[in-house]
Symmetry: C2
Subunit: 387 residues, 2 copies
């Protein structure tokens, strides 16, 4: 009986697996053009299974592949020389991808382009169940302004983007708190408004009166003294902290109607930006009183127990003093993030708890180290600021 | 003797031609990365002959071509699968281009991307002798702001870009005149600040005190009633004029510190935008008093003699009245523009002269229907506004 039951279970399991496998192969034909396509472009497309399909004319190519999420999917050529192919189902949210034509990695001519992975490349949007919070809606919209400035520290022109909320231009006497918000590695100052939709997230929060009107400043986290001889761990030492503190903040306070005090200043970032801004926060508690770390902490990439005496020069040693000084210490992470993020953020949280340091922690369901995690983090975090 | 001289001349001509032809083949090895490359990208490059060289890894491709100015140049593959190749010398200024990999037209992964020819594609900058006027310099910089708005006329979200000059945010009482500035066909609202460098041109003019501080508004010239049943010449009828007059101008006057009167409002455009804005100018002489038409006029594409009684409903019939009303009617054209632009603009100028209508005319040396022509036009035109 026992053997029989086992056999039944095995047979049932095998046929269930086969059915699942077969179902997995069936591509549901309800593809629609991606919402981040170039105007009038029919491809790439997304279906209800969250598969991506794209197409390109390449009459004499040997091989065309759709390259997304670390997997290259072979596409097929029809008699007109048009290649078409699909990916497996993807996570909800925004993903970078590219085409591979006979070994050449190129952007898909159908999509808009986004700066990530150190280059302008294709992106696709898989509809998510909660996409309403970052949708373009008929609500009052803030402005996103490009501000070019000359940095003496880097001896170069740099650019930051500034979100001013709807009503900023009309309410000429009102002053606003400021969130300094940083991108991740191999991204730039455009990431938060293009991939991240920070402006739309704030527009929507403000329309629902779920956030305090605020200015958001997004700078480029890569800043080096071009003539510097100081080299640290093989790379030139970053001067981003000095650029932000001594050049960007004074410029923003002079050019925009800010409330220029620590109680009205927040700093946050994602991944590399979370690491950078956590260090800047702890070095400048007289400048900022709110902190947000999205998918990153300053112990990255270590997952070891943190030695609070030596970590960041002992800045977390006095838990009580920090609790009095910091208005919000906020961390967020996706539930599908890869190694080492869960372990590293986990070790950091354990340190905070050991030190009795108050913090808030959010997990983004079913998302990895990607922009839907960070959009959700911003949505949560921004609603808690300056209240 | 006469025969002998002729023979000498013929022989001399032939050898000069051969020498010239041979010299033409020699590629001077002083290539440098283009100024509009993505960060850290070594290709595409430009040399002193104004040739473009680019390179891409495509190990199993049959054929890779550099496609620029209507010519496809074959590239060559080395033993590592890296393709490299050059174009013939190009005109000074900005050009769109693309790569062709086994028949697939794709952006070059090395360049920045620009919206033109109805898609985001590669661009390259050939240094020009007068490039100082549009260079990024250490002068005060204005802001370029993205403004999303909902258009009732098109029942859609649209976007315009607004340049506010350096000092706009700091001088909270100052009001500014406004230039409405339009892109060409298959381009969009980003063209004037990316390809056109309108913000840098104004920054530089203002630093030299060669222009009056002004706001520039750049909208998208494509606007249609999505549900419209009206179809004109196979295409849906444009409502851009109504969008600009009844939606954009009131919005800008409410949101920015404008001087809201005709004496402080200019309108200009390039190519399709010149045609559109000329019609809008003539229909709304109570709204605008300055006009600039860059490489285009409202008789395009006709080169016929204009019948002033019927052209634009007879709006040019009363030359004296127009001279009193219009503060500046300005036209510009490149000396290398193709058919039908010289003939069409020529016919329009002949009409203005016949009607005794005062206008200024500028020719951009050695440029065709391209952005260096339009940068130069803006530089000239903007310096004459609101004075």
């Amino acid at each position: 009986m026992k053997l029989f039951l086992s056999t039944v279970i095995i047979i049932f399991s095998l046929s269930a697996q086969a059915a699942w496998s077969q179902e997995k192969q069936i591509v549901v034909e309800d593809f629609k053009p991606s919402s981040v396509n170039q105007p009038e472009k029919k491809f790439p497309q997304v279906n209800s299974q969250r598969r991506i399909r794209t197409s390109i004319l390449a009459p004499i190519a040997h091989s065309v592949q759709l390259d997304i999420g670390g997997v290259k999917y072979d596409m097929q050529k029809d008699s007109n020389g048009i290649w078409i192919g699909e990916s497996n189902p993807q996570d909800e949210g925004f993903h970078y991808y590219q085409l591979n034509i006979d070994g050449a990695s190129v952007p898909d001519p159908g999509s808009l382009y986004f700066y990530g992975a150190g280059r302008l490349g294709s992106g696709i949007e898989i509809p998510s169940s909660d996409q309403d919070f970052f949708a373009l809606k008929n609500v009052p919209h803030g402005l996103v302004s490009e501000n070019i400035y000359f940095s003496k520290l880097t001896n170069s022109h740099r650019r930051c983007l500034i979100y001013t909320p709807a009503g900023y231009n009309e309410n000429e006497k009102t002053r606003y708190p400021v969130l300094y918000l940083q991108h991740g590695s191999f991204e730039n100052e455009t990431g938060w408004t293009t991939q991240g939709r920070a402006n739309l997230i704030l527009d929507n929060l403000l329309a629902l009166k779920q956030a305090i009107p605020m200015i958001i400043v997004m700078d480029n986290g890569y800043a080096y003294k071009s003539q510097s001889n100081k080299v640290k761990e093989g790379r030139e030492e970053s001067v981003f902290e000095e650029v932000l503190i001594t050049e960007v903040i004074p410029m923003i306070d002079a050019k925009f109607r800010t409330i220029s005090k620590r109680e009205s200043r927040a700093i946050a970032g994602l991944s590399m930006g979370a690491n950078q801004t956590m260090r800047i926060m702890m070095n400048h508690l007289d400048t900022f009183s709110y902190y947000g770390g999205f998918s990153g902490t300053a112990n990255y990439p270590s997952t070891d127990v943190i030695n609070v005496s030596t970590f960041l020069d002992g800045k977390y040693k006095e838990g009580n003093a920090l609790n009095k000084k910091i208005k919000l210490f906020w961390l967020g992470l996706g539930t599908k993030e890869p190694i080492p993020f869960p372990g590293s953020v986990g070790a950091f949280r354990a340190m905070l708890e050991q030190q009795g340091i108050k913090y808030e922690y959010y997990e983004s369901p079913e998302t990895a180290h990607e922009w839907l995690t960070w959009r959700r983090c911003l949505n949560q975090f921004a609603s808690k600021l300056f209240k």
